[in-house]
């Protein structure tokens, strides 16, 4: 399994999660977990996905989600999971 973390930060609007999930399902990327909070008045969503079955290169997913974020008006980042586990887990 190849895990990645997708974070979405920005002003809340209708359909953010739907747009992200539509993209992921279109490219065979499986969502494992979603959590969402409001931090400092901002919409904050974190999603853990498995991209091992995806039909796209990881770099392409990163770029696609980045432009999707621009379209919606939020910041979408997709990063490989290791940077977070590396930093926070001994």
């Amino acid at each position: 399994m190849n895990k990645a973390i997708i974070t979405v930060v920005g002003q809340d609007t209708v359909g953010i999660i739907a747009r992200v999930c539509t993209y992921l399902s279109a490219h065979q990327t499986n969502v494992l977990d979603i959590s969402q909070t409001i931090i400092d008045g901002f919409f904050n969503m974190m999603m853990i996905v498995d991209y091992s079955t995806s039909d796209k290169e990881f770099g392409e997913i990163v770029a696609d989600l980045d432009s999707l974020g621009e379209e919606i008006g939020v910041r979408i980042r997709c990063q490989r999971e290791e940077i977070f586990t590396g930093m926070h887990r001994v």
């Binding site: 977990d33 904050n44 770099g59 770029a63 290791e82 940077i83 977070f84 930093m87």
Partner: protein
């Protein structure tokens, strides 16, 4: 399982507090390139570097994208050129041609600096090492990306004062040769005592003779992250202060470790070391001076600065050492003047002097770094500054270095502009009393008594 707060913390460190991997540096041994024919040597060097480093930049960029962590520089270090070129170079011009070869290959593979135009002369100079030092003014003014260093002393050997005296003169010549760019040639030249073999940071990086054929070293940096963390420790005692720095350094180093292993795997080159340093940039919020001020100093240079820096340096090492099994290089806190906004301000206001900086170098990771001095400073005075700094390193068994920039045509009160990451610096006053008779004695300062540990 990760939680959203941890993910948020990591991304805030990267986006707002300027956490970055400062450099992925590939060290390449050129020992097997040696030849007594200059043309063959240049071809060998060219082929060896391009075969190892052709994918360095693209791999670094891919890692950057996938993890979302900026990797600011991709660089190369090579075996000290004075060793590789000993039998092929008979003149200054021969050495300059090798500098051009290095510059061309750096441009071709896309790295911003290549380090290793170096000589190790801690005990004394061979004729060919002397030639390399003689070639520095021409080599550094005619090339763009080549970085040079000279190791003039060590705790085991003492200090080669002939090399120190020669370098004082050459540094001035480098300044004159690059006078049209505020003498910035000297920003690519470092004089060391106890130089480490595995330093990934420029301009002092080279691939030491103790290293393998090729290696990936990584330098991480995050003064902004440490400063932000320290905001939570305001008014608390030193125990809390130290714990905060330590925890932060641990997290920063883990990111470096991850990037280093990933780069090593993808490039098929063994992982060497993590250099867990706090290295500033001229950007606001990326300053080591700011970290020191956050600890409670009105401005860097105030009494207490040396203690604050000692504490910072030590806690960075303590925090980082558990995060990576192979820590090396210079590890600690860098205090370059021109590359750190708060240091620039302190020097400009007169709060920070060269003498205070010298005291600070006893407890920092490098030494007098990126300090602009008047262009009319004498060669022997520059040699005196190098000798003082080398003595600190020699006696205290630590690495020290000097990167001073006499700026031709400018004096105290003026500012030198180096551009980009190198920043700008106010010209600092230098003590005007002469040390010429001391520097010109010639010979070697013997190794200190505590070097005998056999």
């Amino acid at each position: 399982m990760l939680n959203i707060m941890e993910v948020h913390e990591t991304n805030q460190m990267i986006e707002q507090e300027k956490l970055d991997v400062r450099t992925i540096t590939m060290g390449i041994s050129l020992l097997d390139c040696a030849s007594d024919d200059l043309a063959t040597l240049r071809t060998n060097i060219y082929q060896k570097i391009s075969s190892y480093a052709k994918n360095l930049v693209s791999t670094g960029e891919a890692i950057e994208r996938e993890y979302g962590i900026p990797i600011v520089n991709k660089r190369i270090t090579v075996t000290p050129i004075s060793l590789v070129a000993a039998s092929a170079c008979n003149s200054v011009d021969d050495y300059v041609q090798i500098a051009h070869t290095l510059d061309n290959i750096a441009k071709e593979v896309g790295v911003n600096f290549i380090g290793g135009y170096s000589a190790l002369v801690s005990k004394s100079m061979t004729p060919t090492e002397r030639l390399l030092i003689e070639s520095l003014p021409q080599a550094l003014s005619e090339t763009e990306r080549v970085c040079a260093s000279v190791n003039v002393g060590s705790t085991k050997t003492g200090i080669d004062m002939d090399a120190v005296a020669l370098l004082g003169r050459k540094i001035l010549e480098v300044s004159e040769a690059t006078a049209d760019s505020d003498s910035s040639g000297n920003s690519k030249l470092v004089v060391f005592c106890n130089a480490p073999d595995d330093n990934p940071f420029m301009a002092g990086g080279f691939h030491g003779v103790t290293e393998g054929d090729a290696v990936i070293n990584v330098g991480v940096s995050g003064p902004g992250v440490v400063r932000t963390a320290l905001e939570t420790a305001r008014g608390k005692d030193f125990g809390v202060l130290c714990e905060t720095i330590k925890r932060t350094a641990f997290k920063i180093t883990r990111v470096g470790q991850l990037v280093a292993q990933e780069a090593s795997k993808r490039l098929g080159v063994p992982f060497g070391i993590i250099d867990l340093s706090l290295a500033p940039t001229p950007a606001v919020g990326d300053s080591v001076g700011e970290v020191l001020e956050e600890m409670g100093l009105e401005q860097v240079g105030a009494p207490g600065t040396t203690a604050a820096l000692a504490l910072l340096n030590d806690q960075v090492k303590k925090g980082g050492i558990m995060a990576s099994s192979y820590v090396g290089g210079l590890s600690g806190a860098f205090i370059p003047v021109s590359e750190d906004q708060n240091m620039i301000d302190a020097a400009a206001s007169g709060c920070l002097t060269i003498e205070k900086l010298e005291a600070m170098t006893c407890v920092c990771s490098v030494g007098l770094d990126m300090i602009a001095i008047p262009g009319n400073t004498t060669a022997t005075t520059i040699s005196g500054i190098i000798a003082d700094e080398s003595a600190i390193g020699m006696i205290n068994q630590k690495t020290t270095a000097v990167r001073v920039i006499p700026v031709i045509g400018k004096g105290v009160g003026d500012t030198a502009e180096f551009g980009g990451l190198l920043g700008h610096a106010p010209i600092m006053a230098v003590n005007q009393k002469s040390c010429a008779a001391f520097v010109n004695r010639g010979g070697r300062i013997p190794a200190p008594i505590h070097s005998f540990k056999n």
